[in-house]
């Protein structure tokens, strides 16, 4: 049971970070390998606020998300925008270059070591039920992720903004024709995606650690979530993250010899049989 719980918690964390990617990759059709870099920025902002400025943890989380979103918007307006119409290869190369630069920059400012993070007292400790030990922080993580999943689902499928976004993605020309400001929608969406990455990165410091190698270490996981869940589908990302989290934790616990092999194998098999993912809206372009 505890393993299942830990699996769910790590799946939720994964969801939190990769749902942002699902938004940019899935809805805007931009292969953004630099997503992990945004998560890393969020993590560093959070750690810096916490350790150097003494901001409380709960306040530093939204600040991390906002700072990351700001970075995201600046980059979107200056660079990403030029590549919306480019081939996937160009987008991959472009985002790899961002990853390289962000890794070096973080190493320059913070050094290569792991960043320490001390949680506030009320998030430490465990809740013990018969047969189940739950870390309070993990519980907190699960609750936050569920709230965000619900909010996002509402946002995309239930609001005017969501409708405009879907219209802009499906047919930018027609959307422009009916008076939707497509550029603004894309900028906002990108900001949303990076804010989620920043939030996820900040919350993940405790479980994933934080060092300049972060973007490369975990980007594969984020991509897997989006690829398996079906790009652009929030429910899909949630289900995929949960599967991935549970399989990963259980696999590492029961059969440590094979490590992460299972995940990659599952992903490849998945993609071969359902290239559009579990809940894909349509096959990738």
């Amino acid at each position: 049971m505890t393993i299942l719980f830990d699996g769910i918690a790590s799946g939720m964390l994964l969801f939190l970070i990769s749902v942002g990617l699902s938004v940019t990759l899935g809805l805007m059709n931009f292969v953004n390998l630099a997503h992990g870099a945004f998560a890393m920025v969020g993590g560093y902002v959070c750690v810096t606020l916490l350790n150097r400025a003494g901001v409380p943890f709960l306040a530093s989380l939204p600040l991390a998300a906002m700072t990351t979103a700001l970075v995201g918007v600046v980059l979107e307006r200056t660079l990403y925008r030029r590549l919306y119409g480019a081939t996937h290869l160009d987008q991959v190369l472009f985002s790899i270059s961002l990853v390289f630069m962000s890794m070096s920059a973080m190493q320059y400012f913070f050094g290569a070591q792991q960043q320490p993070l001390t949680l506030p007292d009320f998030l430490r400790g465990q809740v013990n039920l018969p047969g189940l030990d739950m870390g309070v922080y993990r519980l907190f993580l699960i609750v936050v992720s569920l709230l965000i999943a619900w909010g996002l689902q509402r946002l995309v499928s239930g609001t005017r903004f969501g409708a405009e976004l879907r219209a802009s993605v499906d047919n930018p020309r027609a959307a422009r024709g009916v008076g939707i400001n497509v550029e603004r929608i894309f900028t906002l969406t990108f900001a949303l995606g990076t804010a989620l990455a920043g939030l996820g990165g900040a919350m993940g410091v405790e479980m994933l650690g934080l060092d300049p190698g972060f973007p490369v270490k975990y980007v594969v996981y984020f991509l897997i979530v989006v690829a398996v869940g079906g790009s652009g589908s929030i429910a899909g990302s949630l289900v995929a993250s949960l599967i991935l989290g549970v399989v990963d934790v259980a696999g590492k616990y029961y059969v440590p010899q094979i490590g992460s092999f299972v995940i990659y194998a599952v992903m490849v098999v998945m993609l071969v049989f359902r290239p559009q993912g579990l809940f894909g809206r349509q096959a990738a372009r």
Binding site: I96, I258, Y264
Partner: protein
């Protein structure tokens, strides 16, 4: 091709060796005499050049996007390394075995890769490479895991030339293999097969109408690219007599893409020139500030993607077009 009769002279002329190319192939000889102390680096350049060439075949010519090309490099390296550490130290047969093993893997994975579109291909190639990385990481008894594979003993090349400490034999060995494989690749891309690949990249829908079996062609070139990468890996293993786990890493695949784009994909010389520029820059920059050279690397790539999509080769081609003597009838 507006004329009704098919004029093949254009195609034939492409196949002819131009003077500039002969000059290019004097560079390895020149390098040998100019930098006798840096032969190890030069060998690395030759090997990476071959590796980059293999990616160029599948990406630049056939248009298959791969984020996991290191898989084949690594498999070739381990194949040759394991052979050598288990007493089969003959280099050429080692290369051959590595090529066959990687080609087999390439063929099998090509069946998976070719099913999807760009994005799926990215993920599948990446997934395959990561799987192999995990396998190599965990099978410590066979591969040495994180510590790397050691204890290789190479027999002299052709029974004549020992692999010496300075790396003279290794250098010539790598350069000659590179030249031979380059020459074959050059033949290939100018053959009808190579032209059909270009056609597939430019217009997938049209090629079946012209009678070209798209999937079979792509599978063939993917397998070939895998074999090339395997040979490059094997060369690496044999010349350094060590296989590190990072031969399979994501970084290596990503870096290779970068090198190819730097040089200009879709041109065989682009792959080689990209490697030369990249490796030299790496050498110089990482000497200057070892930790942050990646930053400049990223910045460079950014500039290339945004402003100079065809890389160094495109720049050269534009420059050459201004000088009629050099262009030698190129378009």
């Amino acid at each position: 091709m507006k004329s009704s009769t098919i004029d093949l002279t254009v195609v034939r002329r492409c196949d002819r060796w131009r003077p500039a190319e002969l000059v290019f192939w004097l560079l390895p000889v020149l390098g040998y005499f100019l930098f006798p102390d840096n032969l190890v680096l030069l060998t690395q350049i030759a090997i990476t050049g071959l590796f980059c060439l293999s990616l160029d075949l599948i990406l630049g010519y056939a248009g298959i996007v791969s984020l996991g090309h290191a898989a084949f490099f690594g498999v070739g390296a381990y194949a040759a390394g394991l052979l050598a550490s288990h007493g089969w130290g003959e280099p050429l047969s080692g290369l051959l075995v590595a090529a066959v093993v990687s080609a087999a893997l390439g063929f099998v994975t090509s069946l998976l890769v070719l099913r999807g579109a760009d994005l799926t291909r990215l993920m599948v190639t990446l997934g395959v490479a990561m799987m192999l990385f995990e396998v190599a990481n965990k099978l410590t008894a066979i591969t040495g895991g994180v510590d790397g594979l050691q204890g290789m003993e190479m027999l002299p090349l052709f029974g004549q030339f020992r692999f010496d400490m300075v790396g003279k034999t290794a250098y010539w060995y790598a350069v000659l293999v590179l030249f031979f494989l380059f020459w074959s690749a050059r033949k290939l891309v100018h053959s009808p097969f190579g032209l059909s690949l270009k056609g597939i990249r430019l217009n997938v829908a049209r090629m079946p109408a012209l009678g070209a079996p798209v999937n079979a062609r792509l599978a063939a070139v993917y397998t070939l690219g895998a074999a090339y990468a395997g040979v490059a890996g094997a060369l690496m293993a044999q010349t350094t007599q060590f296989v590190a786990l990072d031969v399979l890493s994501f970084n290596r695949s990503a870096e290779l893409l970068l090198i190819l784009v730097l040089g200009g994909s879709g041109s065989l010389y682009g792959a080689l020139i990209g490697t030369m520029v990249f490796m030299s820059a790496h050498h110089v920059l990482s000497d200057m500030n070892p930790e942050y050279w990646q930053f400049w690397l990223g910045a460079l790539l950014l500039v290339i993607v945004l402003f100079a999509r065809d890389g160094v080769m495109g720049g050269l081609r534009r420059a050459a077009a201004r000088i009629p003597l050099l262009s030698g009838g190129a378009k």
